[in-house]
């Protein structure tokens, strides 16, 4: 940023915002703060965003928390919040005063975990006379600490040894054993070379990370910036006004805009503080939807690039009144702000230099709808544009139910009720000594993140024949159940189930059915095999674990192969029954998408006809389509069924697919 003085108008506007937020503070609305309800209001009435589990309940004076406390839980953002808290309660001195309190140190120590090396943070070296020596007085300080604390070990049976040390800023971090730490902590408030030492336990290790290593000056500055930010935030409209920063008297007084470099740093600092205020990206996104960077003399967005990094989900951005001259000056933001909906660029030289800049902006920001208040595209248009650049899943159609003589329908209506209520009878009626059954468990299926976890898999696992997992031949053999006896044993061990009624809840099922050829003829009369049906059913059932009696939902897919029965037995047999199980997840409702009867299933006439098209109309459409296309009635019906009896669409589909249709589709050759 290149601040070049105030722009009077916006500055006063900024001040207005400020006073509003200040006033609102007493009603505990104010400041940059996390959304209400997620934080905890402490006894000062301040919103304490960092109220983590590790925090100790402090007394009336609030002094008893150690500095180390701030590093529990969330690290820097909590520290930032702690600073904000102290600043807003008008007692910044507590930060330093409380660590002088031995009680505080003790409490901090008692909370330390039992790590072999304990870290202490020592303050006071810089102000001591020793600091003028070659190594800044470090060795003197360390030997002072070792000597003094060893002297204080009552028995004098051991020496206190500092194992590690590392100076950071105003502090020296030392690592010692736990019992030595106790001794060194007793030296807190001792005088060292004319300076009073502050020694506290810390969880920062050797202070390589974390804001605890900041000098006190930095911490104070941070607090002041935080206050400025809080004054520039309007929670009602989720707006952070960072406009005309160079004319902000508080910032100017702080010297934050003394030169270009300083100004850039300040801005980065402001963003870092913003970031620290929120526990999650979602909380940040919800608290701040709009940012104004107006009138900041920005001539390249690289000066404020951190806005894009800190607020990637930002919806509205005001860049008006800056010095952006061309799109190159915006390039740093390309591919960022993926959720940006509105952008203001008025009052920038780019308006005159590059009249086509809005088009480029629309290209760069995928969700951008309006520029300078002019709506350039609707969310629907954006959705269409995005859809055009994404995979388009193959659409769902209604059941492909090519039944023969209603066999599949009758079978399915009986099957699931019988499976729920009387498995032995079901086996006796429809399975024989050559029927095959196996189940396969998919424990890693995609599921609704909000759905409860599936019931335990244990009852199914001993028989699961998921061939991805079961690679051993004997296991593959043993888990394939052949014949009623073997299947009965398996079914007997499975949980009780309750499938939804097909008649009442067809929407809870997807069922496809088609003829297949070349099945084994159980009578042996047809060497080239017999015809049968393959039925695939997808759905869900409620299950009750036999051991634990817990209830739960499970999704399944089940493939049946039906064939003619053995001589002297039922007419239909289940040749193969493969059950796949996965966690419960709702099926797409293919019936809604297409409530049309199966194409070649006369017995299915009872199924509801699509809304708005009655049987007479359907007959008329059939005849007309057959006439126009030359297709047989059967194929015309298939075609119309696919498009839910939309005549126009049926014609379109025909024209698209006619070259691929087999000759038998046509009653006469089409013209």
């Amino acid at each position: 940023m290149a601040p070049r003085g105030a722009k009077g108008k916006t500055a006063s506007a900024g001040r207005e915002t400020r006073s509003t937020t200040l006033n609102s503070k007493s009603s505990s609305r104010g400041g940059i703060s996390k959304r209400r309800g997620q934080g905890r209001v402490d006894n000062d009435g301040d919103l304490d965003m960092g109220a983590g589990a590790t925090r100790t309940q402090h007394g009336g004076d609030g002094n008893a928390r150690s500095r180390g406390d701030g590093k529990n839980g969330r690290g820097a953002s909590k520290t930032a919040q702690t600073i904000l808290k102290h600043l807003t309660s008008g007692d910044a001195d507590r930060i330093s005063s409380r660590v002088k309190n031995p009680e505080a140190a003790k409490q901090a120590r008692s909370k330390a975990n039992a790590a072999p090396v304990v870290y202490l943070r020592v303050h006071g070296l810089k102000a001591s006379k020793a600091s003028s020596s070659k190594d800044g007085g470090l060795s003197q300080l360390l030997s002072f600490l070792e000597r003094k604390s060893t002297e204080r070990v009552r028995s004098k049976s051991r020496n206190v040894i500092i194992r590690k040390s590392h100076p950071v800023g105003d502090y020296v971090f030392v690592g010692v054993s736990k019992i030595d730490a106790e001794e060194i902590l007793k030296l807190n408030t001792f005088s060292f070379a004319g300076s009073k030492l502050e020694i506290v336990e810390t969880e920062d290790g050797l202070g390589h990370h974390g804001s605890a290593t900041e000098s006190k000056e930095t911490q104070e500055l941070r607090a002041k910036l935080q206050e400025i930010l809080s004054q520039r935030y309007t929670s009602e409209v989720k707006l952070l006004k960072l406009d005309a920063l160079a004319s902000d008297t508080s910032l100017v007084t702080l010297g934050m805009f003394d030169n270009r470099e300083r100004a850039l740093k300040t801005f980065k600092g402001l963003m870092a503080i913003c970031d620290g205020l929120f526990k999650t990206a979602k909380a940040k996104q919800e608290a701040i939807e709009s940012i104004s960077l107006a009138n900041n003399n920005i001539d390249n967005v690289s000066q404020v690039e951190s806005v894009a990094l800190t607020f990637p989900q930002l919806k509205n951005l005001d860049m008006s009144g800056n010095q952006i001259a061309n799109m190159q000056a915006v390039e740093q933001w390309k591919g960022k702000f993926k959720e940006l909906e509105a952008l203001y660029m008025t009052g920038n030289p780019i308006e005159a230099n590059d009249p086509n800049y809005p088009a480029t902006l629309l290209e760069w920001f995928p969700k951008l709808q309006s520029i300078n208040g002019n709506i350039l595209r609707t969310p629907e248009q954006i959705a269409a544009q995005i859809a055009a650049t994404q995979p388009r899943p193959i659409p769902q159609h209604g059941p492909d139910f090519r039944d023969v003589n209603g066999i599949a329908e009758t079978f399915l209506l009986e099957f699931f009720t019988a499976f729920d209520t009387d498995r032995p009878k079901l086996l006796q009626d429809l399975y024989d000594d050559r029927s095959k059954f196996s189940l396969a468990v998919d424990t890693t299926s995609v599921r609704d993140p909000d759905a409860p976890p599936p019931p335990r898999w244990t009852p199914y696992l001993p028989d699961s024949r998921n061939l991805i997992k079961i690679s051993n031949f004997n296991a593959r053999k043993q888990r394939l159940k052949i014949g009623t006896k073997s299947i009965a044993e398996c079914w007997n061990a499975l949980p009780f189930t309750r499938h939804p009624s097909i008649k009442d809840h067809i929407d809870k099922y997807i069922m496809d059915c088609k003829p297949i050829q070349g099945l084994e003829d159980p009578s042996g009369a047809n060497p080239s095999g017999v015809d049968g049906l393959m039925i695939t059913v997808h759905g869900e059932f409620e299950e009750s674990d036999k051991k634990t009696s817990t209830m739960g939902m499970r999704s399944f897919s089940r493939t049946f192969i039906l064939g003619p029965g053995q001589p002297g037995q039922a007419a239909i047999r289940v040749a193969s029954d493969m059950l796949s199980l996965r966690a419960s997840s709702a099926l797409p409702n293919v019936h809604k998408a297409m409530e049309a009867p199966p194409a070649t299933a006369p017995q299915q006439q009872a199924t509801p006809v699509p809304s708005g098209v009655d049987a007479t109309q359907r007959q008329a459409m059939l005849a007309e389509l057959a006439r126009q296309t030359g297709m047989t009635a059967e194929y015309a019906e298939m075609c119309l069924t696919q498009v839910n009896w939309d005549f126009g669409q049926a014609l379109a589909i025909f024209n698209e697919k006619k070259s691929a249709l087999p000759p038998e589709a046509f009653a006469t050759n089409p013209q």
């Binding site: 995609v446 991805i468 084994e520 095999g529 796949s580 297409m594 087999p662």
Partner: protein
């Protein structure tokens, strides 16, 4: 000629299913040609594959291939199998077995002349990256033996099992 014994049936059917499932989903994920997987690729069957995708009958493998291309829209669409199972539906399959083709000796007892049904559960991911939408799918196949692969010295790389029937659903 004798039908394959029980162990052979299990071994051949599960191996066939495994090979098929690995190659087929790899092919449709890469949008590689899929015709060689279908009975349509051999003249030895007069019947063409019965392909049903999300409830719609798809006339030919080429049409399904086009649908997959259209679905992808230039982006990766990846099918990942999480579970599969296989049953022998006919251990001595002779449907449309060509009389003039010299079938290898013992092909039947070695389990090469079977029809196999395969049931697959998996996930399909539309697009790249962790955020891309994912759905479950379930698919059932009936595989038939490829008569041409059963001759002496069959063409190199020929598939031993071919899709005769296919039923796919996104769930």
């Amino acid at each position: 000629m004798a039908p394959p014994d029980h162990d052979t049936q299990i071994k051949v059917s599960s191996d066939a299913a495994e090979t098929f499932v690995n190659r087929y989903y790899d092919a449709i994920s890469r949008r590689a040609p899929i015709l060689p997987f279908y009975v349509n690729s051999t003249t030895r069957y007069t019947k063409t594959a019965d392909i049903s995708i999300n409830g719609a009958v798809v006339p030919t493998p080429a049409d399904y291939f086009n649908q997959l291309a259209e679905q992808s829209n230039g982006h990766p669409v990846t099918y990942e199998v999480e579970s599969f199972d296989a049953h022998v539906t006919n251990p001595s399959f002779t449907y449309e077995m060509p009389e003039n083709l010299p079938i290898k000796e013992k092909a039947e007892s070695k389990g090469e002349m079977m029809s196999i049904s395969v049931s697959v559960m998996g996930r399909v991911q539309y697009g790249k990256g962790r955020e891309a939408p994912k759905r479950m799918f379930n698919e059932s196949f009936v595989l038939w033996p490829n008569w041409e692969a059963m001759q002496k010295n069959p063409p190199k790389g020929i598939k031993q099992w071919l899709i005769a029937s296919q039923n796919y659903r996104s769930l």
